[in-house]
């Protein structure tokens, strides 16, 4: 899975953006216009580009109040003359979750003391945040969301591993196909510390915000349209208490899970044959499904796996993820084992839970489970439904549904569904739809 990049930023020297952007929303347009661009010529060389825009990028430092020093770093870039800058939510998540313990500040490229920054608004689903410093900024990016053609050369900026401001070349490869949360695929090296930095075209136009990497030149960017929408909102209502951001994050998570639930409930859940059973198949395109049957001639049984997962999640804090849909089926069968020995195997499979959504003690409660024999369309099933609540975001829950068929003595399907960050009612609706697909074909 993609690793979140936590760290670098670049500072910048005043240079004009080259391309005039499409009209900004009214609220953004009200800001002082960026300096007039020089006439368009051939795309400048990388060093020229760097010279031109370096002062538009800054390093974000998250300061822990008691120690008085930085606890993490990231990057940000200025998008208005009045000090607004865009970064990632995951760079400033500590400030959102513990405003009493953490503050943010920006280290500008021009040098001097770090400038305190206020967190104005966040978009947790797209991993974006707007911060603002209380001083005018001479040089900044104008935001536009025109997409360049695939293969366009792009330049990612940031401060990987706090090594200093870096510019990295790569290519634009469009939006990731069938993804749950929109991301641009950037074929270039994005490294921890470049989070929140911009990725630009040769003309100096921002295409996306650095957010994650899968290693080996596979980088991910947040498309600019989400940054533009967030900036417009932040500019329209400039005074937001930092404490209310938590409530805003909660609302965004609630909205997102509602959307997700509707997408899933309106889609038909296909039936996937597995042995003599039918199980939930690929529910929507954003789920990636894999299957395998390990072949071991030494072993007197076969277990076939079929699993689907969104392979993406929403970052809430360094140890808490949300917005996850994943499921796993295991079909076990044996010609050689007797009924009781097969039961041992089947119980062992049922005892292993798939990797759950990451969360810590301060994020969630313990699970509570309810277990029953359930008749699913004539098929007897032992089902257990487990739920845990989010501590910081009331109304959101993680649900795990485990079920194992009990119609045969030497074969069966064991299945588990994980839903991370849903309302209890929506999670139950989805779990029910999922369970009702189970059937036996003989």
């Amino acid at each position: 899975m993609s690793a979140i990049l936590l760290a670098a930023v670049l500072a910048q020297a005043p240079v004009a953006p080259v391309e005039p952007g499409p009209p900004l929303p009214d609220s953004v347009r009200a800001l002082p216009a960026p300096p007039a661009p020089p006439p368009a010529v051939l795309p400048p060389a990388t060093h020229e580009l760097f010279q031109r825009i370096q002062n538009r990028v800054a390093q974000v430092r998250i300061i822990e109040r008691r120690s008085g020093t930085r606890s993490s770093i990231g990057s940000a870039f200025f998008v208005s003359g009045t000090g607004h800058a865009i970064t990632n939510y995951h760079v400033v998540s500590d400030v959102v979750l513990h405003p009493e313990d953490y503050t943010a500040e920006l280290v500008l490229r021009r040098g001097g003391e770090p400038v305190p920054a206020r967190l104005l608004d966040v978009d947790v689903v797209h991993d974006l945040a707007v911060i603002r410093i209380q001083e005018p900024v001479a040089d900044f990016f104008a935001l536009e969301d025109r997409e360049p053609p695939q293969g366009t050369r792009l330049f990612a900026m940031g401060n990987p591993h706090d090594l200093g401001t870096t510019i990295v070349e790569g290519t634009f490869n469009g939006l990731i196909q069938d993804s749950l949360y929109e991301r641009i695929h950037f074929s270039g090296a994005i490294n921890p510390g470049m989070s929140g930095g911009p990725t630009l075209t040769g003309e100096g136009r921002v295409v996306g915000v650095n957010v994650a990497t899968m290693g080996n030149q596979l980088g991910f960017l947040v498309p600019m349209k989400h940054a533009r929408a967030l900036l417009a909102r932040a500019v329209a209502e400039p005074e937001v208490e930092e404490a209310t951001l938590l409530e805003r994050v909660r609302q965004q998570l609630l909205d997102n899970q509602q959307l997700l639930t509707e997408r899933l409930m309106t889609a038909a859940l296909p039936k996937q044959p597995l042995g003599s059973y039918q199980v939930p198949g690929r529910w929507t395109p954003f789920l990636k499904c894999w299957g395998d049957t390990p072949h071991d001639p030494e072993v007197p049984y076969t277990v076939t796996n079929y699993q689907c997962s969104s392979e993406e999640d929403i970052y809430l804090s360094s140890h808490h993820r949300s917005g996850v849909v994943a499921y796993l089926h295991q079909h076990a069968t044996s010609q050689k084992l007797g009924a009781l020995r097969f039961s041992s195997l089947y119980s062992a499979l049922f005892s292993q839970d798939p990797d759950l959504v990451e969360a810590s003690r301060e994020d969630v409660t313990n699970f509570r489970c309810e277990t029953q024999f359930v008749d699913v369309g004539g098929l007897p099933v032992r089902a257990a439904l487990c739920l845990r609540a989010y501590r910081r975001f009331p109304g959101l829950y993680d649900l795990v549904l485990r079920a194992a068929t009990l119609n045969a003595s030497t074969s069966g399907v064991d299945t588990s569904l994980t839903l991370g960050g849903f309302s209890a009612a929506n999670a139950r609706r989805l779990a029910r739809r999922y369970l009702e697909v189970l059937s036996w074909t003989k």
Partner: protein, 322 residues
């Protein structure tokens, strides 16, 4: 004192040897010329004499011993002491006590209703081999059924050797205790009891999980298992102790009930106090057995999901607990 007195050589609170003295003077010391011989190296060859004074009173008199003769209570060196009943005198490392014939003894301890000794089931000759075979057979069967991979001869061997070694060692400990307190080993009996306890420990968990599966029991299962183990532990301790102590069974039962309940409560103290450590694991019974083991009926999907609505309140309550 009386014409006849008893000289008692004490060892702790008990009497090691008792000598009847009728003729006086009587001599006490290490030499074989004495009436009472003490094998204490710190006692002189002729240590003390018990004789009748002119006024007819019996006295103890030191016979010029090397290390002296001492009155015990209060502690003082003595040359001569009038004998009263229960008087105690120390010579060397030995304590002597004098008692007259009219010393009053304590009341007889009332025993349980006297009955012909009843032979208990596990004292019979066949009990041990039967219990041992049952234990080894069950252990072997469990190891075989619990293994779904290829037959593993190593683990099957362990399944036989482990309970065997465990019972023999365990019974050995109890047998030594029996020997110390009752002068008899009762090794066979202890081994039989140990076999039966271990048989219970092997059979109970699968029996309870099978019952839990059949009836679709949820959370009560852990407590049922805990109680069953406490009962088994109490039963085993009771019978082991019957061959170790001379306590009456009623008293033993009361003591063991307290011990077992305290142990049970302490081992579950966290649950009883409501202290639940943070965990990301799912707590529900994982047993799956063949269809024929299922006793309780199925619910409809509708009813199952309706039944899960309470979970939301439960976890919300956990949030509020903070």
């Amino acid at each position: 004192m009386d014409e006849v007195i008893f000289l008692e050589v004490l060892e702790g609170d008990g009497v090691d040897a008792r000598h009847r003295l009728e003729r006086f003077p009587a001599t006490v010391g290490r030499a074989y010329t004495n009436d009472v011989i003490l094998d204490d190296p710190k006692v002189s060859a002729e240590h003390l004499r018990i004789e009748r004074r002119e006024d007819g009173v019996l006295v103890v008199r030191d016979a010029g011993s090397q290390n002296g003769t001492w009155r015990v209570d209060p502690w003082a060196r003595l040359a001569e002491m009038e004998l009263v009943s229960d008087a105690r005198v120390a010579v060397g490392d030995t304590v002597l006590r004098f008692r007259s014939r009219d010393h009053v003894v304590a009341d007889t301890v009332v025993a349980e209703a006297p009955a012909a000794p009843r032979e208990r089931l596990f004292e019979r000759g066949l009990a041990l081999p039967v219990a041992m075979l049952a234990l080894l057979g069950t252990s072997l069967l469990e190891a075989y059924l619990g293994n779904y991979a290829r037959t593993d001869w190593g683990s099957l061997t362990v399944a036989v050797v482990m309970p065997l070694a465990l019972t023999l060692l365990w019974a050995g400990g109890w047998a030594v205790a029996s020997r110390i307190s009752r002068r008899q080993f009762h090794y066979r009996t202890h081994t039989t009891i140990a076999c039966l306890v271990l048989l219970g420990a092997v059979v109970l968990p699968p029996a309870i999980t099978a019952l839990g599966f059949g009836l679709s029991l949820g959370r009560g299962l852990g407590w049922l298992q805990h109680l069953a183990f406490l009962g088994l532990m109490g039963w085993g301790l009771f019978w082991h102790l019957r061959y170790v102590t001379r306590w009456q069974s009623g008293r033993l039962v009361r003591v063991l009930a307290v011990v077992t309940l305290v142990f049970g409560a302490l081992s579950r103290a966290d649950d009883l106090l409501g202290n639940e450590p943070f965990s990301t694991s799912l707590e529900f019974p994982r047993t799956l057995l063949p269809p024929s083991f299922r006793l309780s009926g199925e619910r409809s999907v509708e009813a199952f999901f309706a039944g899960t609505e309470g979970l939301q309140e439960e976890v919300d309550a956990l949030v509020r607990e903070e």
